[in-house]
């Protein structure tokens, strides 16, 4: 009896450590890929939005493979605006290194973009700040 309670306590401690943000295991790209690519085929818009929001909560820019999976999911739920918004989100996640990372991502997912007919936000003219008086800082 005492051995089983010790085992239970160590399991609970492991679960608590996984939940606490300071000691939780940091997601590697592999773990995220596995989670994303194993998505069910009938995922719906709600789950896509939730999944991408969680994905961008981590301190990383998702790999093009993951973005391709997400864009295909958008196609399945017939939501074009969601796909464009996701591309804008990826660009925003690049942070200060936008000039290095974002062109690489677009180059890697270009085949998917042409296949599904998704335009990047730049092609639609959505990357410019609002018209009129623009403030620099």
């Amino acid at each position: 009896m005492f051995r089983s309670t010790a085992l239970l306590r160590s399991q609970t401690r492991q679960q608590l450590q996984d939940l606490c943000p300071r000691t939780a295991p940091k997601p590697t790209n592999n773990s995220i890929q596995d989670r994303n690519i194993l998505q069910p085929k009938d995922i719906d818009g709600w789950e896509i939005r939730q999944g991408v929001t969680d994905l961008i909560g981590h301190d990383l820019v998702p790999e093009p493979k993951i973005i391709i999976v997400i864009l295909n999911a958008c196609r399945r739920v017939n939501d074009f605006a969601l796909a464009v918004r996701i591309l804008e989100t990826m660009k925003d996640k690049c942070g200060s290194k936008e000039n290095e990372i974002y062109p690489y991502i677009i180059q890697e997912i270009r085949p998917t973009l042409t296949q599904l007919g998704i335009n990047t936000p730049e092609e639609l003219g959505f990357d410019k700040p609002p018209t009129g008086f623009t403030i620099c800082i």
């Binding site: 929001t53 017939n78 939501d79 074009f80 918004r85 804008e88 007919g117 639609l124 403030i135 800082i137």
Partner: protein, 180 residues
């Protein structure tokens, strides 16, 4: 709002015809543009007949949508693009301006005090000879001998231990205007 359901009258009045499409910022059916939560819980615009037809067309091949239709789809789903809502607003100028105006009030108080509170002739104890006399008294009384003023006075040398930019001159040196 935690006790009111998302489909209560309060929310339905505000949501209108719009479809609730996601969890959004905090689970409530609100539309907010935020870079940390890029997908709001609602579509932005209420569906009209044209938007409905666009949604129908969206179910087909996306390459058949024209550029204007794609932009209209985006704008019907979202109020502002990322570039628009993350653009600098210049609000810092307002904040700095108001802060400096507050500083001006303080400066005005100082000016009015100098004009109306303090008399033109100061009392006799402001004269330099009197100030030096007060300083001699303070040093003789050994005020603050541990960490304060007289801890910096050397009683053997009769002078300050360390002379910095803010130490007064030695008050024990006789000056011409003493004995006033």
């Amino acid at each position: 709002m935690g006790f009111i359901s998302n489909r209560s009258k309060y929310w339905l009045e505000r949501v209108g015809n719009r479809e609730m499409v996601g969890y959004g910022l905090n689970g409530l059916p609100m539309y907010v543009d935020k870079p940390e939560f890029p997908f709001p819980a609602l579509r932005y615009k209420e569906p009209t007949a044209e938007i409905h037809s666009l949604y129908e067309k969206q179910k087909g091949n996306w390459k058949l949508l024209t550029r204007e239709e794609k932009k209209a789809l985006y704008r019907s789903n979202y109020c502002q693009t990322f570039a628009e809502f993350t653009a600098p607003t210049g609000e810092w100028m307002k904040v700095v301006g108001i802060g400096l105006i507050m500083c001006c009030f303080g400066v005005w108080l100082f000016i009015l005090q100098k004009l109306f509170v303090y008399k033109q002739e100061l009392p006799i104890s402001f004269k330099p000879s009197r100030v030096r006399a007060q300083m001699r008294r303070i040093i003789d009384l050994q005020v603050d001998p541990i960490m304060g003023l007289c801890s910096n006075w050397d009683y053997e040398k009769n002078d300050w231990k360390v002379k910095r930019w803010n130490t007064p001159p030695n008050p024990f040196i006789r000056c011409p205007d003493d004995d006033e």
